[in-house]
Symmetry: C2
Subunit: 124 residues, 2 copies
DNA sequence: GTTATATTTAAGTGTTTGCTTAATTAAGAA
DNA sequence: TTCTTAATTAAGCAAACACTTAAATATAAC
């Protein structure tokens, strides 16, 4: 945005624009956090993982690899992102690590799961 | 996944895994569509645009550029993605194009907007 | 100890993303 | 028509993504 060729519209509502700017600023943190979560869920593989964890309660990378038909490292890297994003957590049992959804983000995620189920009902 | 070194766990629940596979397959379309929408909303700039359109009803690329503090082409490209994703639509008025949310996807989007507002209340 | 299993991490790579600047299209005003 | 404004499109590019294969880590079994 070097060359500010901003199209200063004649009819631009300066007050409205200023209000919007303030709203964004006031919610800065919320936008950043929420978009982060949505970006995580915005990957089809990760969305499936989240959905499966909701349905099955907990699953290990090995199972997910089988279910999703993709390599273990690929799954593991997705799980790491979800863990870093505070969406899932792992519990060790011997050599196996069981991942599950963290309660924290569930409020936001549940509508997605419901939506998927609903779509299914529509098709049926 | 050439070299199927799949860790066939001793305790793996084959029935569970098969059920999961079927669930994924049955909802294939829903996963692809929903992850597409979430990927759109998973970009901070686009999330802000969607939020602003909800609040202000409609806005033009020029206004959004001012509000977001980014170049018009950058905004325009985000709008295009949202339009291609069937999330927003444009209405021409002279040289100006006003974008607004499409009713269609609003059911899924509204919880996000509410969440942002709620976060704000918490902070205040 | 050695070996096997479950998982993670690291390095490499092709693809996608999101911006930039410049060119183009579209409508209105002179 | 020419000029200005609003918006889009195109080309280029750095950064992020999502996989791959190979190496490393961690626990359990022998």
């Amino acid at each position: 945005m070097e060359n500010n060729q901003s199209c200063i519209r004649v009819f631009a509502d300066k007050v409205q624009i200023e209000n919007c700017r303030e709203t964004l600023q006031a919610n800065e943190k919320a936008f950043s956090q929420l978009s982060g979560l949505l970006a995580l869920a915005g990957n089809e593989v990760r969305l499936k993982i989240l959905f499966l964890l909701e349905e099955e309660n907990e699953l290990c990378p090995c199972d997910l690899s089988d279910i999703l038909g993709m390599s273990i490292p690929a799954v593991s890297q997705h799980l790491r992102k979800l863990k870093d994003g505070n969406v899932i957590e792992g519990r060790r049992e011997g050599q196996t690590i069981f991942y599950s959804l963290k309660q924290e983000q569930l409020t936001l995620l549940r509508p997605f799961f419901k939506h998927i189920i609903n779509q299914n009902l529509k098709t049926a």
